[in-house]
């Protein structure tokens, strides 16, 4: 289960699990925003490679118009995924506690 709230003037708050069954909905939600988009990942418990694909596609789209994707409050599991995939070199990532 994944919930998404906010965006625009406020961070997009992701909560739950971003797996292959949630990737299409997550992509559709993030496609609504432009500029610098901040994802609050404090309650994002799980991310699969399908979720990585959503983040990459969103980041590339935003880069094309001068924006970018940034992630905050990233937990250890997500940090490992980003590190092993090299996404920590292409996304602005702020670790959580």
């Amino acid at each position: 289960m994944l919930t998404m709230q906010g965006g625009g003037e406020t961070p997009v708050v992701l909560a739950g699990r971003l797996d292959a069954t949630q990737a299409v909905a997550a992509q559709a939600y993030l496609d609504r925003f432009q500029g610098v988009v901040t994802l609050d990942c404090g309650d994002l418990q799980y991310l699969s490679s399908a979720g990585l694909g959503v983040f990459l596609k969103t980041h590339k789209r935003l880069l094309g118009s001068g924006g970018r994707l940034r992630l905050t409050a990233v937990n250890r599991h997500l940090q490992d995924i980003f590190s092993y995939s090299g996404f920590d070199q292409i996304l602005e990532i702020e670790p959580g506690r």
């Binding site: 797996d19 799980y46 596609k57 599991h77 092993y84």
Partner: protein
């Protein structure tokens, strides 16, 4: 102690798989901190089967507690040989504009768990992936078994 369950080959079954790992970890006393990485590997392996395999028989997952961790076995009947430990290398140093979604799953599996072994039975047309995840430091381990039996 170990426990196993079988799952139909549909993406929406992922929720059932995650419920199974959650319950099995709790029943067997496997540290919950290991579950996200185990779920990640199972999701990659299972979705690959759903997307690319021609078989229809259910996929079986077995979970067994080991010292300070867990051993997971995923068995796919009616399978063609596809060694998940022999995935082509992925260049993770490319800039964002040159990166493509996909292709990272198998690359990540080998890094998230302590060991991965692949076996295939020609006679039974059965694939089996066994991986271990513990709280220990991760060695760079991946291997393959020949002449597996399912």
């Amino acid at each position: 102690m170990s426990e196993r369950a079988s799952f139909a080959r549909r993406i929406d079954v992922l929720a059932e798989i995650f419920a199974f790992t959650t319950a099995a970890f709790a029943r067997q006393g496997v540290p919950d901190a290991l579950r996200a990485d185990v779920d990640f590997v199972l999701e990659e392996l299972f979705t690959n089967i759903v997307k690319y395999s021609r078989g229809e028989a259910p996929v079986t997952i077995e979970i067994a507690a080991i010292a300070d961790g867990v051993e997971v076995t995923l068995t796919e009947p009616e399978a063609d040989r596809f060694d998940v430990t022999q995935a082509p290398p992925v260049d993770i140093s490319l800039p964002a504009v040159q990166r493509q979604p996909g292709g990272l799953g198998l690359h990540l599996i080998a890094r998230l768990v302590d060991s991965v072994q692949y076996g295939y039975s020609e006679g039974e047309r059965c694939s089996r992936v066994v991986f271990r995840k513990t709280n220990a430091a991760r060695p760079e381990a991946a291997g393959r078994d020949e002449d597996e039996r399912c």
